[in-house]
């Protein structure tokens, strides 16, 4: 029997806008998942939505008054082709688990976001990207096919390149429940990264450096100090890297080149006073973080976990924002819209948004998913405490800039977008809605996100 809990309060990783699901079901098999979906379709029920590890920042994996399917019970890795680098696994398998299993075999996930605690289903549903987007594209570009449980209770095998696949990749779980996926992997010699670090003095310097040399690296990202003002506005630390070849390792590391043992610090405490992360404390942190970084250093060896997922070392790090939670804002504007990016960074810097997790990166070619976020251009992600007075109206102002520049915001991080801007941001939204209307006419798959934005 599926584990079934009544009345569970659910939030996203940002811990804003909590709502209560009438039922939380944890299916352990395809059959149990299909039964749960048919229950969601019962008259009077308020639909259902799949949830993985709850790392979407906003309300994507919440369903007020309805059913939430906790997919972490479907956690089997079915087959691994260690010769060609292909894995078939259930949707509830986390990227962390895949790394544990695949790294010793010399394979790595094709795309990883800033946390490895996301499920494969969630990675496809949000069509996540990583520091290698300019080279490798989004996660679903590496998905060969997936099994999708649709509103009629049927399981369909959906190969890449079909309309249903493109609607599902980035579709925020609204086309159905992803049950399993076949994913192509990346061969690696070691579990170490060779990292080049450099500082950029301001935003223009940063953009010049990224534009000039990004193509040399598989992974590239810049941490940006959004509180720096005046001539220092946009000062940043660029970290770019490659998987280290085995001959780059020292004698000790070479004994176990593919070891994967991420460290763990104590969890963030359950109660943190509101306003701990204000302008003064974050400003101080940012200044120290910037000065601590080397002006230029090449070929430093870092563990995979330190390079990709530094925050995963602190369980429940999202609690540091206190009870009020925080808002993530990530947008992309195309190449040629550098002026809009400068204006937005200027507005954030003048407004004094206390953000210590802001990153800027260049995207490569867009991805086929209809609601996939990446388009070629500049993407900036920042976190802000939700309790900051006037933040809602301020971010609405940024939305206007983003839309005017032909850009968009990322649905996996959204918790506050004005619904009428969505169609301008996602030109394939009409196709997505039409496909949903045909595939799921009764709207069985529903989330707080889909209600809020009328997806």
């Amino acid at each position: 029997m599926p584990v079934d809990t009544a009345s569970v309060e659910v939030t996203g990783w940002g811990r804003t806008a909590p709502t209560t699901a009438a039922r939380l079901v944890r299916p352990r098999s395809y059959e149990e998942a299909a039964d749960a979906v048919l229950d969601c379709a019962a008259p009077g029920a308020r639909g259902g939505i799949a949830r993985g590890l709850g790392r979407a920042y906003g309300d994507a994996a919440q369903n007020a008054g309805g059913c939430v399917l906790d997919m972490t019970g479907l956690d089997r890795i079915r087959t691994i082709d260690a010769r060609d680098g292909v894995v078939v696994c259930d949707a509830g398998v986390s990227l962390h688990r895949l790394m544990e299993v695949l790294l010793p075999l010399g394979w790595f996930v094709p795309v990883t976001p800033g946390t490895r605690y996301v499920t494969v289903g969630g990675a496809i549903g949000a069509d996540i990207h990583g520091k290698n987007h300019h080279v490798s594209g989004s996660f679903s570009r590496h998905v060969v096919s997936l099994d999708l449980l649709t509103a009629d209770g049927e399981v369909r095998t959906v190969p890449a390149g079909t309309d249903l696949f493109d609607a599902t990749a980035g579709g925020m779980g609204l086309t159905g429940v992803i049950l399993s996926a076949t994913v192509r992997l990346l061969p690696v010699e070691t579990s170490w990264m060779s990292v080049d670090t450099e500082r950029a003095a301001d935003l223009d310097d940063l953009m010049d450096r990224l534009a000039a040399t990004d193509h040399r690296y598989r992974y590239s990202v810049a941490w940006i100090d959004l509180l720096a003002r005046g001539p220092a506005m946009g000062r940043s630390v660029l970290t770019r890297g490659e998987h280290a070849p085995s001959d780059a390792l020292g004698a000790r590391a070479r004994r176990e080149p593919l070891a994967f043992r991420p460290g763990r610090l104590p969890a963030a405490p359950g109660f943190v006073p509101e306003g701990l992360l204000g302008r003064a404390s974050v400003g101080l942190f940012n200044a120290l973080w910037y000065r601590r970084a080397p002006r230029a250093r090449t070929g430093e060896l870092q563990k995979l976990s330190a390079f990709f997922h530094p925050l995963d070392g602190v369980p429940h790090w999202n609690r540091v924002y206190g009870r009020g939670g925080f808002v993530q804002y990530q947008f992309v504007v195309g190449y040629g819209q550098e002026e809009a990016l400068r204006r937005i960074v200027g507005r954030i810097s003048r407004r004094g948004c206390p953000s210590f997790l802001a990153v800027l990166k260049r995207f490569g070619d867009g991805d086929p998913g209809w609601l996939s976020f990446p388009v070629p251009g500049w993407t900036l992600a920042l976190d802000v405490p939700a309790g900051l007075p006037g933040l809602g109206a301020f971010l609405d102002g940024l939305d206007e800039e983003v839309v005017a520049a032909g850009g968009r915001v990322y649905l996996a991080k959204d918790s506050r977008l004005r619904p009428d801007l969505l169609a301008a941001m996602y030109p394939r939204l009409a196709d997505f809605r039409a496909l949903r209307a045909e595939l799921d006419p009764r709207g069985v798959f529903t989330s707080d996100l889909s209600r809020r934005l009328s997806l």
Binding site: A17, A21, G58, A64, P389, S415, P419
Partner: protein, 251 residues
């Protein structure tokens, strides 16, 4: 759905001509609110209020609702919820009464109590149930500092608000964990048509200030909001003043 800042997309105002209710609606429409239901006794004033909000770009509908007729509440409000989720219910109706007159005319005093208290109990429970089925939403109840400690000049009104306040607090605890948030708002003296002709009390405020406090309270998911905030300290002091002394205070 409410956004990360607690701002609703759909709003039901019980007491559709209430100045605080309309000031709050205007403020929320300026942020995210698109659908507004104004519930009240059918009247030109209700239609004027609806037209005023429509001019701001909201989709506004009115529904006939009488606090003094609790038998009809379930049916009238049920229709509103059947049309779609309501993210926030603002329980804004209430009457001040005329203390001197009401003391002479018990039936007229009873009307004050029935409007402010029993009418609100009925409407509050109907809305709470609907919100609970949705699994989300805020029920914002306009109480008053008058309910915090009864005063000679308006204890009939004050006692009705005291009942409402206690009811709303208890309801908030009952709904804790259901996804429904109950917020009790205790304004001081609000300059409005309800208080027209009365002399200003200390710390007097305006409907717009109450609306601002409600918006902030929604963002913080507060359970109690005082307007202005200083009243919290003032009232907690006044609450402990001995009766013989309290009677002599010019409050």
């Amino acid at each position: 759905m409410k956004d990360a800042f607690g701002i609703p997309q759909s709003l039901l105002v019980l007491g559709g001509t209430s100045e605080i209710g309309l000031a709050t609606a205007r403020r929320l429409i300026a942020r995210r609110t698109r659908t507004v239901w104004l519930a009240g006794r059918p009247s030109p004033a209700l239609e004027t209020a609806a037209a005023g909000l429509r001019a701001l770009g909201a989709d506004v509908r009115t529904v006939a609702f009488d606090a003094l007729d609790p038998v009809t509440h379930e049916e009238k409000l049920g229709k509103v919820f059947a049309e779609g989720d309501i993210d926030m219910v603002l329980l804004a109706f209430g009457v001040l009464g005329d203390q001197a007159h009401d003391e002479e005319q018990p039936l007229s005093a009873v009307r004050v109590a029935q409007t402010n208290y029993t009418g609100a109990v009925s409407a509050g429970l109907v809305c709470a149930k609907a919100l609970q089925n949705q699994g989300h939403g805020s029920l914002v109840v306009l109480s008053s500092v008058a309910g915090e400690r009864a005063r000679r000049v308006n204890f009939i009104y004050g006692s009705s608000k005291a009942g409402l306040d206690a009811f709303a607090q208890g309801l908030g605890d009952a709904l804790h964990g259901t996804g429904v948030h109950v917020m009790v708002v205790r304004p001081g003296f609000v300059r409005s048509k309800m208080t027209a002709g009365l002399p200003d009390a200390p710390l007097a405020t305006t409907p717009e200030a109450v609306a601002t406090a409600i918006e902030t309270g929604l963002r913080r998911r507060s359970e109690t909001v005082w307007v202005p905030g200083a009243l919290r300290a003032v009232m907690s002091a006044l609450r402990h003043v001995p009766r013989p002394l309290f009677r002599r205070l010019p409050v």
